[in-house]
């Protein structure tokens, strides 16, 4: 049974997104299928070329790029949020699937979890 972890909060302003990622990787570590949905301001986690050194943080780009290797089945992003935040295909990390609505994404998964 695949668990969908949802991130809707913007990156770097709080640790909620990172703690959501920790949940994803914990599921993977226990061989449990996991997927991720980024929506609202959360789609900005998926932007390329982030460099958080100046604010004393690490980017999650490498973690997200590694996610499929660790068994994360899908990385989904809300299409309208990508449009709103001008996150076109060329700006996005590889392997992100756009979904037209959040409801469509929720319909695909049995367990849906926000980290906070």
């Amino acid at each position: 049974m695949t668990t969908l972890i949802v991130i809707d909060q913007a990156p770097y302003g709080s640790w909620t997104g990172r703690e959501a990622l920790d949940m994803v990787f914990s599921l993977a570590a226990f061989d449990q299928p996991a997927a991720m949905l980024f929506m609202g301001a959360g789609v900005n986690w998926l932007r390329k070329s982030q460099d958080a050194g100046g604010i004393g943080q690490r980017t999650v780009e490498k973690n997200l790029a590694a996610a499929p290797v660790f068994g994360v089945e899908q990385i989904l992003a809300e299409q309208s949020a990508c449009e709103r935040f001008r996150l076109g295909e060329e700006d996005r990390l590889n392997g992100v699937e756009l979904i037209p609505s959040v409801r469509d994404a929720l319909d695909r998964f049995e367990r849906i979890v926000f980290a906070g």
Partner: protein, 96 residues
């Protein structure tokens, strides 16, 4: 006599005020037949003219009373015990 059936619809527990972005996202994600349970600041939606609450909507009595909305006619009022029952009856609950 049949056993208590598990409903296939989803129970959504929403605790965000109507002005929180996740409030609108939750409402847009509801299916006909889902149940929306308003808790904490979300109960303000019963008095929010812009909220657009669905039919299958319930709100926690203690949170309504706290906010001066006891007896509001716009929603079915439930107790914490009712909320427990709803989570038992629904095979899927999403907390927003």
């Amino acid at each position: 006599m049949t056993q208590e059936q598990t409903i296939q619809a989803t129970l959504h527990i929403l605790n965000k005020s109507p002005s929180h972005p996740r409030f609108a996202t939750c409402l847009a994600a509801l299916h006909e037949g889902d149940t929306l349970a308003l808790a904490e600041n979300a109960v303000l939606a019963v008095t929010d003219s812009t909220a657009g609450l669905p039919r299958n909507c319930v709100a926690l009595d203690a949170d309504l009373e706290a906010r001066g909305l006891a007896g509001n006619p716009n929603v079915q009022i439930i107790s914490y015990g009712d909320l427990v029952r709803l989570t038992a009856e629904h095979s899927r609950t999403v907390s927003w």
